[in-house]
Symmetry: C2
Subunit: 240 residues, 2 copies
């Protein structure tokens, strides 16, 4: 621990700085939750205006990540935190990077909605995608709660739920393959829908990685078992 | 700058620590370059054993990233670097995260090779993928050279070359759509080939992000113009 950290006034000011960064993370988290839900809703409702709002909204998420990184770097440089505090600050940076990536995926989903509304809808797919997006949004909500409470148990629950998201993705992947084989006119729409499903599956991976950071913060070590397997299509699809 | 940094012996030891982390980055970079090329070669040669080696080799890349993060956190905690040095250490962590992701993509390519060798080859595709992989590998090689030399000009050149990789990806995307429409029996193979092409395109994005870190390190600011556009299929495909 550096000399400056021994002064209780400075310690208090360090806590305050960290809290203000955590507030930025929560704000980012809220925007990303909304972006995920609205991207999926715009697809199901074929609502181009809503999709356009999601696309434009990503700028605010990117700006918040930028701000988190600046504040965290400033905190590290000025306060020279001890090893434990350092870990907290680095985790915050990792979590904000994960959130930023989720925001990018939501934006990409919304872009594809703009293309998909020009084509005939694939029966049932938009609803299945919306349910998958909702599952990831709930994971994200719980990951953020677990982060604020330093609740390793809730974080572990989030981590396990990623397996269900992966199963939803695998089911959709097989469905899209079937649609494409049935009628080649479905191919372009299914390629876009498949990208969207894959983006949601990747958001689940990023939320899982956030949950792992929370476990690290709460317990001092990362989960010991292998991270749950993400995308099994590279092995499964050959059999379908 | 903290007190400890004013002692020239400590400064020297900080430089030595940083150099040893940079050496780990270069080692990671070499492994990732090899993984990219061998993943593409295993696909073209339909060589399952080579693909298996690429898959297994990713563990060494992950372990190096872990080591970079540990060493960087230790350096931050012990040496309490000034703002400039802090930026350098944070950049190193970002670059190692980019390399780790590239390693993951190469591993995923190699997994899909295991599936694709069970199917009839798509004429010309494996060669086109190999050329795309080679372009990204050269970008990575130059990004690593630019990093060591703090050469912003070379990094900017890398960044611009990502546009060519994106064009290669867009051409392949259209080709796969055509193959699938021509014959539904091509669909499964084309879905996997498309994933592989997309993975290489994403590696290009990660190498671009490394190049941007180098520009930041060399000049003190990120490139001002918008980052070159990555994947245009979300808008183009609707027209194809």
């Amino acid at each position: 621990m550096s000399d400056v950290m021994k002064d209780p006034h400075i310690v208090k000011s360090y806590d305050r700085d960290l809290e203000s960064i955590q507030a930025l993370i929560m704000k980012m988290g809220g925007l990303v939750e909304t972006a995920i839900l609205e991207a999926a809703n715009s697809l199901e409702a074929r609502d181009e205006e809503l999709a356009e709002r999601v696309r434009k909204g990503d700028k605010a998420i990117d700006a918040l990540e930028e701000k988190v990184n600046e504040e965290a770097a400033r905190l590290l440089a000025l306060r020279q935190p001890s090893a434990g505090d350092l870990r907290t600050v680095l985790s915050v940076m990792k979590i904000s990077a994960n959130l930023e990536r989720c925001g990018d995926y939501a934006k990409n989903m919304a872009k594809r909605t703009g293309v998909l509304v020009q084509m005939a809808p694939m029966e049932g797919s938009a609803g299945a995608i919306r349910r998958m997006a909702k599952a990831v949004e709930l994971m994200l909500k719980d990951a953020l709660d677990a982060y604020i409470q330093r609740d390793a148990e809730l974080a572990e629950d989030v981590r396990q739920r990623d397996l269900e998201v992966d199963q939803m993705y695998n089911a959709l992947f097989r469905e899209f393959l079937t649609f494409m084989m049935e009628d080649p006119r479905n191919i372009t729409a299914c390629m876009h829908l498949h990208f969207i499903a894959k983006n949601i599956e990747r958001m689940g991976d990023h939320v899982t990685s956030m949950a792992e950071q929370v476990i690290y913060l709460a317990t001092g070590h990362l989960p010991e078992d292998e991270r749950p397997k993400a995308d099994r299509t590279s092995v499964d699809a050959g059999r379908s």
